[in-house]
Symmetry: C2
Subunit: 355 residues, 2 copies
Amino acid sequence: MLWAVIMAGGSGTRFWPESRQKKPKQLLNIFGRKTLLEQTFLRLKGGVPKERVLVVCQDKHAAQVRRLLKIDSRQIIGEPVGRNTAPCAVLAAATLLKKDPHAVLAFLPADHLIENQARFRKVLKTAGDLAERTGQPVTFGVRPAFPHTGFGYLEMGRCLHKGRQGLAVYHLKRFREKPGLRQARAFVKSRRFLWNSGMFVWRADQVIRTARRYHPGIYQLAQKITSGPAVRTMKTYFPKMKNISIDYAFMEPLKGKILTIPVDFGWNDLGGWQVLPEIWSADNHGNVCLGSSMLHASRGNIVSGRKRLIALVGVNDLVVVDTEDAVLVCDRRQTERIREAVQALSLRKKWHKYL
Amino acid sequence: MLWAVIMAGGSGTRFWPESRQKKPKQLLNIFGRKTLLEQTFLRLKGGVPKERVLVVCQDKHAAQVRRLLKIDSRQIIGEPVGRNTAPCAVLAAATLLKKDPHAVLAFLPADHLIENQARFRKVLKTAGDLAERTGQPVTFGVRPAFPHTGFGYLEMGRCLHKGRQGLAVYHLKRFREKPGLRQARAFVKSRRFLWNSGMFVWRADQVIRTARRYHPGIYQLAQKITSGPAVRTMKTYFPKMKNISIDYAFMEPLKGKILTIPVDFGWNDLGGWQVLPEIWSADNHGNVCLGSSMLHASRGNIVSGRKRLIALVGVNDLVVVDTEDAVLVCDRRQTERIREAVQALSLRKKWHKYL
């Protein structure tokens, strides 16, 4: 049966000052009336029933996650520390395998935006069936809209199957690291590359099998955790897990045996403030504004506010974000430096309240 | 006797969003622990006694002015509408002439900054004596530090007197309008031009006499106001006054009969956010910051905040001002546009609360 594993452990400093340690990106509701986590959960409706959803999140967010999604506490795995996605995937697989030896898991980041929900469920079903039948991981690749240098790419190999409704299945030839701009351009031009969306579907028994073979440490710790009293063993063993991503830990060693489906459901990873113009329309001067703002002789700005008025006068290409206790003004082309700024905040105690 | 007339009627939109209709520039205390009005009042101490100070302000600020300065309500002239400086000067002269037929008046804007208070009082005394003896208006000119295009200039004529302590008196050859950059550069180079500080000392009887001759309308209305019951006549006659500055109304027609003293007491007219680097020192990257701020990879910015943290990331040459209900982000070289922005705010009712 198809299960969903929502990966909600991220900290999301790229949306600072809206995102904070207590309220990471997946818990923000600035991208719609509901939080990204809720949106991720709700778009499964009609595809995966509520009871077959597992959420992996930071320990400290567990109560909030349960309140938001109204799910059983046994459907939440709270991580005491961050250990990237591989330990999280193995733990989820080990947990669900006990309930359903034929479990097929859809691993879904909790902080992405998807426009066409029906299409998403259609792809999910196809991928679920495929993964169940083949035992191979099925990754979701997004046709690149432009040469993005912030994503990993999936290089498509042989076409395995061209289905109805435009859904095709390819062998995955290679994972490609985040490319430079020149290489990204070549990727886009060749039409053989897809953005790695980070979503994939895989049978639980295969996750475990792969873990045992390539990362026995993670496998053994996951076994210990799932066979002991939940909370205590988690605190004891989870921190010993290797900090490694699914891509590095399992996908790399398996290359040649991975499938990929090019998807077209209007995906956005919300990689930072700079993506807002991709999801909201700009005014005549290229400004995208959320909240109360007054722009005078200003172009190409991204503004996110709340109650306070944000007035821009004679400025271009800025990100301006106003929150209750902090204001950010950043060059729109340098949003990756917000991470550095948050790092700088962590160095001074008096600024810790803004983290 | 020397009296001081503090002209505190301005609205000061250039410091928006700190300055508002209810709290114009002269009532701001971001330039020191006390408001500019209080600073103007306090620096007279030792030069003009408290009882010989008259404040002209907007009607709606009268109560606040009285509370701040702890002066008698008869020492305040509240204007029901703004009519620039000429009506204000004539009214002050007419009022004080009734108390002291030999009154000499020092007209002082309430919203300037002066560094060397002792020097200021020294100049004031010299100018007072000179004005009393000659009956001529004595203007204060500031040696230009750079070719400012936002000031009027005083062109010095013949030197009348070179006193001790570097105080000299010149005939004023001409008033010069705000020059273009090229002309301003020539002004500075020639060393014969001074910035018009807007401060001047003049005998009350001469103010009245000049008004009667060149602007009989203003003279007559001022006579009516000072001979009737204060508040009611003010409301009736003051709005009929011509809206005109002292420079245009009286100084222009008197040219050739005006004196000027080059002053050196560290004057700043606080013409807008862009002057902050002139009065506060910048950090190693040319940023001037007031309040709580965190600057990362940012240069040449002017930041004014309060409680909230202001974070700048990868931005240069901006003015960023954070207040309780509004945030301003403006190009440092375009601060004169703040006035346009405030104008734009006045066009929409939902924004009136920010005026």
